[in-house]
Amino acid sequence: MTEMNMVQAINDALRLEMRRDDRVVVLGEDVGKVGGVFRVTQGLYDEFGDDRVIDTPLAEGGIIGAAIGMALYGLRPVPEIQFADFIFPAFDQIVSEAAKYRYRSGGEYTCPMVIRTPVGGGIRGGHYHSQSPESLFIHTAGLKVVCPSNPYDAKGLLLSAIRDEDPVLFFEPKRVYRAAKGEVPEGEYTIPLSEAKVVREGKHVTVVAWGAMLYEALASAEEVSAREGIEAEVIDLRTLWPLDLDTIVESVKKTGRVVVVHEAPKTCGFGAEILTLINEKAFLHLEAPPVRVTGWDTPFPYTLEMDYLPLQHRITPALIETAKF
């Protein structure tokens, strides 16, 4: 076991998988010689050379389009979009092509690729380096969406994602990149996609979170435990889609109360879907209206970053109100 941060854990996963499977190719802006703006691909260029670690032009549509071609021809491309905010030029390629190959071909072809991209705010990134567009991709049938919260999960989930036969959006919470450190096993291991994890057990209220907001949710859970004796059960989704609904429903049946936390704007955010599913699956167990604590329905601001994010000071009152409803 080695202590790693998330950048190191993802780098480790890429390196291991590239050693194990020579079909794995990394491509993107500055992923080669520079090693990525966040240094996630550092050292890969030196080890695997410029035909497996490809510096591309600044053209996201081209990066994804090329990766789709690689996937269809049998490679396992892992393209990087430097910030999730920049993914929109490639949106058409992802939605219209990558997501549909399995369906258009009646299951004859798949499009195995992992689009790695940093998401989220809280790093003074402003409008174009802070967004969380996960719900756009969850809404697009044919894609899988992953968002790890810690180094251990990041490595295990990335290895599963690369080995998956379908296109995966792999969102890396950049606020967590170097902030969370943990023991990560050397060598390969996988964490199955679509398995959420109960990271804190509790009986009074369920909190669903992922990525960077998981830490805020946990801080709130500790706060309300100390202040009010409210024991929150905190679930880290890890894979956003396909959703591990069973774990959520099981918890809500126990607590009768649920708060979903995410950075993205509230309207049509993934929280809306989660709460709707809870209403469908656990309606008769509800003791309080399900609640969302989310970013506001505005573009992500630069100056008011800490007011926009659903941080501990906003989650705590929601937990108390829901628990005491």
Partner: protein
């Protein structure tokens, strides 16, 4: 379109609220200025309120039976011309929307400007239809006016309401426990039935008590229960009784009237307890619950009054005035009140002061088809017997016709209740609270009486005087009664009281 909020106006006399008795309009109705909209009953009078402006009724501020505070929105009126602009726009837009989609789709698919389609011209899309299941929905004639909306404020959601408030989990618990949520008294926030409420109710089972009665009520056939439950008055009355509203005795639980069998229930009829009847009930209850009533009864030999009345009647007839005994009694009461001002007083419970009125407004209880009303002869001390007679006649007609104003129905300082030909022997009148005295006048009968040592036939009337014993001592009340009796037995004494 601008929405005009019409608020219940302050019509004076300290009126703070009014009960909606009847709506003449519903949402969607077009009204002209002054068109009657709603009948509102204030403390005593029922007034018809007309539309302040022309327009379309947008929403009603309450259901029949609901009490509206002065200043609360009574009705919303959408201002402007025909008042149907928005609905007209909707109906105009709907058919257009119906025709548009097929044409547009054809154009897009075929790349040809919207030529009349001779069939699917699309190449990229296999099947462009000219109609779809359900598309006829838009070809239906749109209604000229929006459907009448349900009253904006429906029956107060309250304890025993048809839709009790509870979380889904509590509902599941209640269902499993066989508990009807309508039967459970809510203790949760915002009137919610809580898990604990259901558990407590289930544990108590069908034991006696108000909840059990209510439970029995809930078990009534829906058609029977529906009559009462659909009435705002019924549910709000039940709610206010629990809330300890004014006029009810504290936190007493409302008592349901429940037939033992559905068959028997089917032979009952129910109607909302609203309007003047409910107002009378509230006022009577307030009076009985507050004042310490005692009633003093004594005979009065009105032989001479009867003779005097017979002599004066032609004079009154000549002046087109119907003379009764009541004006004599009113004048006697006023004269007695001047000598016993405590009987013309009231207790201000807020300031803890006894307020003596140096004006003499005599309420005259009158029975009407709607119920008991008490029009007021104002400043009776300044009026002649003939003038009092005319005023009583006018007020009596007005009360029966329902045309009296709030001012004519309030502000009395002492009340006389005459039971007329069916006056009986005596009664125990209930004070017109917060007045401290009320005089009941009964039937005049021929009776043997002793006069100058002889048994003679006398014209005898009994007077029943009720007092508020908190303020009026027994001997004070008795002296007041004998003062009146003295003047009625020797009516020429009234000359001495002429102003």
């Amino acid at each position: 379109m601008a929405i005009f909020d019409f608020k219940l106006p302050d019509i004076g006399e300290g009126v703070t609220e009014g009960e909606i008795v009847a709506w003449s309009v519903k949402a969607g109705d077009v009204v002209k200025e002054d068109d009657p909209m709603v009948e509102v009953m204030t403390d005593k009078a029922t007034v018809t309120i007309g539309a302040p402006k022309a327009g379309t009724i947008a929403s009603l501020g309450g259901a029949v039976g609901q009490v509206v505070k002065v200043g609360a929105v009574l009705v919303q009126i959408e201002l402007g011309g025909a008042g149907t602009a928005s609905s007209a726009a909707t109906s105009a837009a709907a058919p257009a929307a119906n025709h548009a989609p097929p044409a547009m789709h054809t154009a897009v698919a075929s790349g040809v400007p919207a030529a009349k389609s001779d069939g699917p011209a699309a190449t990229a899309v296999g099947d462009i239809r000219e109609s779809l299941p359900g598309s006829s929905f838009f070809t239906k004639k749109a209604p000229a006016a929006p459907a009448p909306a349900a009253p904006a404020v429906a029956a107060a959601p309250a304890y025993f309401a048809e839709k009790p408030l509870a979380t889904p989990a509590t509902r599941k618990l209640a269902r499993e426990a066989g508990v009807d949520l309508r039967s459970v008294r809510p203790t949760g926030a915002n009137g919610r039935v809580t898990r604990e409420d259901v558990q407590a109710f289930a544990a108590k089972g069908a034991s006696a008590g108000p909840d059990a009665q209510a439970h029995a009520y809930a078990q009534l056939p829906a058609e029977v229960r529906g009559v009462a439950a659909s009435s705002a008055a019924a549910s709000s009355a039940a709610a206010s009784a629990f809330a300890g509203a004014p006029g009810t005795s504290g936190a007493r639980a409302p008592i349901a009237v429940v037939a033992p069998t559905p068959a028997q229930a089917a032979r009952e009829t129910r109607k909302p307890f609203v309007g003047i009847r409910r107002k009378i009930a509230e006022r009577m209850q307030t009076s009985k619950n507050t004042a310490a009533h005692f009633t003093f009864v004594e005979e009065c030999d009105v032989t001479r009054l009867k003779e005097l009345h017979a002599r004066l009647k032609p004079h009154a007839d000549a002046r087109d005035t119907k003379l009764t005994y009541l004006p004599f009694i009113v004048k006697a009461v006023v004269a007695a009140l001047k000598r016993a001002p405590i009987l013309n007083s009231a207790l201000d419970e807020v300031t803890n002061e006894l307020v003596t009125r140096h004006y003499y407004n005599i309420g005259i209880a009158a029975s009407t088809d709607q119920g008991l009303m008490v029009p007021v002869v104002r400043d009776a001390d300044t009026l002649s017997i003939l003038e009092v007679s005319r005023e009583i006649d006018r007020l009596g007609r007005g009360a029966r016709a329902g045309t009296l104003s709030s001012a004519e129905l309030s502000g009395s300082t002492f009340t006389v209740t005459s039971l007329g030909k069916q006056g009986g022997l005596f009664a125990t009148p209930i004070l017109n609270f917060p007045e401290v005295g009320i005089l009941g006048v009964h039937q005049i009968k021929q009776r043997p009486i002793v006069r100058d040592g002889q048994i003679v036939i006398g014209e005898v009337m009994l007077l029943s005087l009720s007092f508020d014993h908190r303020i009026v001592d027994g001997h004070v009340g008795a002296a007041f009664a004998y003062d009146i009796i003295g003047m009625l037995e020797e009516p020429d004494r009234l000359f001495l009281e002429l102003a």
